[in-house]
């Protein structure tokens, strides 16, 4: 049996996409309904930073929205909100994705990692975060969480990239302050190579 289908039957948390469920009244009445054909389950489980998070997600909702406004993970920033700038970059099963342009429903059963999930339990920073501090990589800092996540993904795949490889890998992340040089210094330092 498809476990997702089973869970769906158990929860019966379904509503039609046109019904707003922002109010608790709407939400609970939705629970009592049978799901119309073709409707999308709204109360879903997400694997965020290794934890299961239950969250009410509208059918058209983007992951950045869910993270920021439903789960209070505001480290993920929204800037262009159209898949251009990389400010909202998160890792989905280890791969960089623009969360502003990723449907939340499409990441069920997948592992989502945000900037909040990088620090160790004892507070130790991820090597990329520490290197970005040591190299004074950020300026205004708004693009920094996205830059951090792209660098983490790169080093997971390629622990000792050349500077040019790093430049290519990071090129999906814009920085209006123009701190590219210092971010690359940070990536190289995090990889154990001198910047």
């Amino acid at each position: 049996m498809n476990p997702q289908l089973s869970r769906r039957r158990f929860i019966k948390a379904v509503i039609a996409s046109s019904v707003a469920a922002a109010s608790s009244t709407g939400f609970h009445s939705a629970l009592a309904q049978d799901r119309p054909r073709g409707a999308v389950e709204r109360l879903i489980s997400l694997n965020i930073n290794g934890q299961t998070r239950r969250v009410d997600v509208a059918p058209q909702e983007m992951l950045a929205h869910t993270l920021r406004y439903k789960l209070s993970l505001t480290g993920t920033k929204i800037s262009c909100n159209r898949g251009e700038c990389g400010t909202c970059t998160v890792l989905i099963d280890g791969i960089t994705n623009y969360s502003c342009s990723t449907l939340t429903h499409s990441v069920r059963s997948r592992a989502v990692q945000t900037v909040e999930g990088l620090q160790a339990a004892d507070g130790t920073l991820h090597p990329v975060q520490q290197a970005f501090i040591d190299e004074l990589s950020p300026q205004c800092g708004f693009c920094t969480p996205g830059q951090v996540m792209s660098a983490v993904a790169l080093l997971n795949e390629n622990p000792t990239p050349t500077r040019e490889e790093a430049r290519q890998a990071m090129s999906g992340n814009l920085c209006r302050c123009g701190a590219y040089d210092h971010y690359l210094n940070g990536v190289m330092r995090a990889s154990g190579q001198s910047s």
Binding site: G75, S79, C80, I133, L136, P138, C140, S171, R176, G178
Partner: protein
């Protein structure tokens, strides 16, 4: 060499940790109980009049809380920007806002509102407005001149012949609105061996800060709390209070982190007041989320130039005369002043013996303009560099030598008044840069390799880099800790932290024993300058210096009062005040602070100087009794222009077949007095270099002249430089000679860091093309290919805001 403990040393600014962990909160990251979401309806027309609004369907929708229109906010006199308007003058001008329980409902409600707008004539290129019979961007006129004598609209038209002559490169003969001059211009040109005459265009382009200017507000007991995206902090307070119709004492501004500003968030902008009005109307906290696209529309843009310049040079390369005429594209809200600043920059960087500036600010129905990193100085830097190269070529001189002979120095005089400078060492910067870049050797290398051709360029940047008269406020608490209160905004330059170290330097405090209080009115901040115009370093090392000196004076008084002798008998170190002749006899800073609280009066802030700003006064009142308070207004002597200067050397490899070029090497040298924070300076120089690279080749406004529609509202359409557009390594250095009018010798650098870059690139492009001057930014690959193949360009001479 100095023996500073902190000045000139690297450190980790306290906000970096939050930036890399995602814990740093920006305006949109805050939520409060009961908060609702507002979205804006913005003008789909370039110019018009709202004649009818039917919001009945929206108001009836579930979840809609309220609607705010121009009738709910103060009317603003044209051409100034309004919070909401019924007379939109550019696409994206905010007309109304809807608040709802969530953003989707607010969006749905906006779609249900019917707005009737009567279209009015519009224009997207100043010359199309200036020509006889051309449309005016405002019903009141097509020119808005601001001056000390008075500001106002007027209608200025040139004949078709005058426009045609201007486009053909001849000296403009039409009416202008501003003029200043110095020296004998005729003599200057008579003394010249070479005279260069060019016309030029620098297209405006959007700031595109990555954090859109989202704001949230609520009221508590008559106080308005605003979470905003502010480039400056306390400098915002009077302007935002004015917009909200309240006193500064009734305003709390929270802006601890700001996702870029670049001049677009210097002072409080109208839309920052919208949530305050909306919250008052509906009785709930309101967050107005501004989208990335709306940030393009209303986040302001650089002023565009269309100009003409004639410049004379003596046989040795010395500039003898400059005559410059600039038409400014000042958008719909008449924000500018760039042209005169450009003239001022010429007078300083190239120091001609005589000069005349004429300017005409023309309104267009394009996005509002605002100061953008080096407003005026950086546009003209791009224009001037190839002109200097052309002069050098015609005189048979090294382009470096022509820069050096004209380089700003301690004797340089500036602007119409020909006032002096605090200090300037641009020649030293050029020498340092040429050495790092290996200019002499590179000039000897072969230029052409198949379709690839190398180009070398030199650029110079300038901006006045200091301000005076602001306040400093510090406090030492009984635990011995130094608290530095700063109203400097946090826009990513780290100046709020680096200038705070000035106080710790004076008081010889360990940096680990210091705490910075910033970004929130309730942290009791002093009246500080705007974070723009490269002023923070100069201005706030001074304010923190005077506050620390005030604290030092008080500490010595307390020591003398407690332990005997005279205040001058005491010295400080190791966070102790002690007798100079017997260091064992002393008091810790903590003990001094405790004694200050006992003594009260000026020692702990019960009294304070009369001349500090009311914002600082309130902060001192709130802090009174909590420690030893050092507070003072910066009344240190200051005379003359405070220059921030920089130069850059660049090598490009240009492909004649594709018109694209790659930047092979870049060296930028800062001349900003004593280096305050080396890593921060490198960041500014490198980030500025990226901005210059964007202006030279990529960034522009594109408007459809038929419908007035902007064609490039996204980052990539705008041409924001990416990792792949700029070199992965840029090299920087600094002259590091102290300025005599700053206690630590420091001046600012943010803007010239960009000007030198764009100038070096326009110079290098010209060099690669055997001296051809496009007289235009950006220079796109198709322009290069058209030139190389002898084809006409796809635009009219002097056309702007075009593809």
């Amino acid at each position: 060499m100095n023996d500073y403990k902190l000045v000139g040393k690297d450190f980790t600014p306290p906000d970096v940790m939050g930036k890399v962990t995602g814990k740093a909160k920006y305006a949109e990251d805050f939520r409060v109980d009961g908060m609702v979401f507002a979205r804006m309806y913005t003008s789909p027309m370039a110019h018009g009049k709202v004649t009818h609004i039917d919001a009945s369907a929206a108001e009836a929708m579930d979840g809609v809380i309220g609607i705010l229109t121009a009738d709910d906010v103060p009317a603003v006199e044209a051409p100034n920007g309004a919070i909401l308007t019924n007379s939109p003058a550019f696409i994206g001008d905010p007309i109304l806002a809807v608040a709802a329980v969530d953003e989707k409902t607010a969006e749905d409600a906006l779609a249900a509102i019917k707005i009737t707008i009567e279209p009015l004539p519009f224009v997207t290129d100043p010359l199309d407005s200036l020509i006889a019979g051309g449309p005016d961007a405002r019903e009141e006129g097509n020119v808005y001149a601001r001056s000390r004598e008075g500001s106002g609209f007027r209608t200025v038209k040139w004949t078709k012949e005058q426009i045609d002559d201007f486009r053909a490169g001849k000296e403009p003969t039409g009416e202008f609105a501003a003029e200043w001059k110095y020296g004998d211009l005729d003599k200057g040109f008579a003394d010249a061996k070479v005279i260069i005459e060019e016309n030029f265009v620098t297209t405006g382009y959007a700031h595109m800060s990555m954090e859109p200017r989202t704001a949230m507000a609520y009221w508590q007991n008559g106080t308005c709390y605003v979470h905003g995206s502010a480039q400056s902090h306390t400098f915002w307070m009077p302007g935002l209070a004015r917009l909200l119709g309240i006193e500064t004492k009734d305003l709390v501004l929270i802006s601890e982190n700001t996702g870029g500003g670049f001049g677009s968030k210097i002072g409080a902008y109208p839309i920052a007041a919208l949530p305050g009005y909306f919250s008052k109307k509906i009785g709930r906290p309101v967050q107005l989320r501004v989208t990335g696209e709306q940030e393009y529309y209303m986040g302001s843009a650089r002023v565009g130039f269309q100009g003409w310049i004639r410049m004379g040079f003596a046989e040795n390369g010395k500039a003898t005369a400059t005559d410059v005429f600039i038409i400014e594209d000042i958008g719909a809200n008449a924000t500018g002043g760039d042209a005169s600043s450009a003239g001022g920059a010429i007078s300083l960087v190239y120091d001609p013996d005589a000069m005349r500036f004429r300017g005409l600010p023309v309104l267009t129905n394009t996005t509002p303009r605002g100061a953008q990193r080096g407003p005026g100085q950086n546009q003209i830097a791009a224009v001037m560099a190839p002109i200097m190269d052309k002069a050098a070529r015609e005189l048979g001189l090294d382009p470096l030598a022509v820069r050096k002979i004209n380089a700003a120095n301690n004797a340089t005089t500036v602007y119409e008044e020909q006032r002096g400078v605090t200090s300037a060492y641009l020649e030293e910067a050029l020498t340092m840069g040429a050495e790092m870049f290996d200019w002499e050797n590179r000039r000897q290398q072969p230029k052409k390799n198949g379709s690839k051709v190398r180009g070398l360029g030199i650029g110079q940047g300038y901006h006045s880099a200091g301000a005076t008269g602001f306040d400093g406020l510090i406090r030492i608490t009984p635990d011995g800790k130094l608290h530095i209160h700063t109203g400097v905004g946090n826009l990513g330059t780290y100046s709020f932290a680096s200038t705070s170290r000035a106080a710790a330097e004076v008081l010889k405090c360990d940096w680990e024993n210091c705490e910075i209080h910033n970004g929130h009115s309730e942290k009791n901040l002093p009246w500080n300058s705007y974070q723009a115009g490269s002023v923070s370093t100069f201005a706030h090392t001074r304010t923190n210096y005077v506050a620390a000196m005030d604290a030092l004076r008080k500490m010595k008084l307390i020591a003398a009062d407690t332990m005997g002798g005279e205040p001058d008998d005491y010295d400080i170190d190791g966070q102790r005040v002690f007798l100079t002749e017997n260091a064992a006899q002393g008091m810790s800073y903590g003990a001094i602070a405790a004694r200050a609280i006992q003594l009260g009066g000026e020692y702990s802030g019960q009294t304070y100087p009369d001349d500090i700003n009311e914002i600082t006064q309130r902060s001192v009142q709130n802090l009174a009794g909590s420690g030893l308070v050092g507070v003072a207004k910066d009344n240190l002597p200051q005379e003359g222009t405070i220059p921030g200067l920089a130069c850059a050397f660049v090598e490009i490899e240009l492909d004649l077949e594709t018109g694209k070029y790659e930047i092979l090497d870049y060296v930028g040298i800062a001349e900003c007095g004593t280096v305050l924070f080396p890593a921060g300076l490198a960041q500014q120089m490198k980030g500025g270099a990226v901005w210059g690279m964007g202006m030279a080749a990529l960034e522009r406004h594109v408007y459809d002249p038929q419908y007035g529609l902007p064609a490039n509202v996204g980052y990539h359409q705008c041409g924001i430089p990416t990792y792949l557009d700029v070199p992965s390594v840029t090299r920087t250095g600094a002259v590091d000679i102290a300025d005599p009018q700053n206690p630590f010798g420091a001046r600012g650098i943010g803007e010239p860091a960009m000007g030198c870059s764009v100038a070096a690139l326009t110079s290098a492009i010209s060099d690669a093309l055997d001296g051809h001057i496009f007289g235009r930014t950006p220079v796109s690959p198709d322009m290069i290919v058209n030139h190389v193949t002898g084809r006409d360009q796809s635009f009219l001479p002097l056309q702007t805001n075009n593809f």
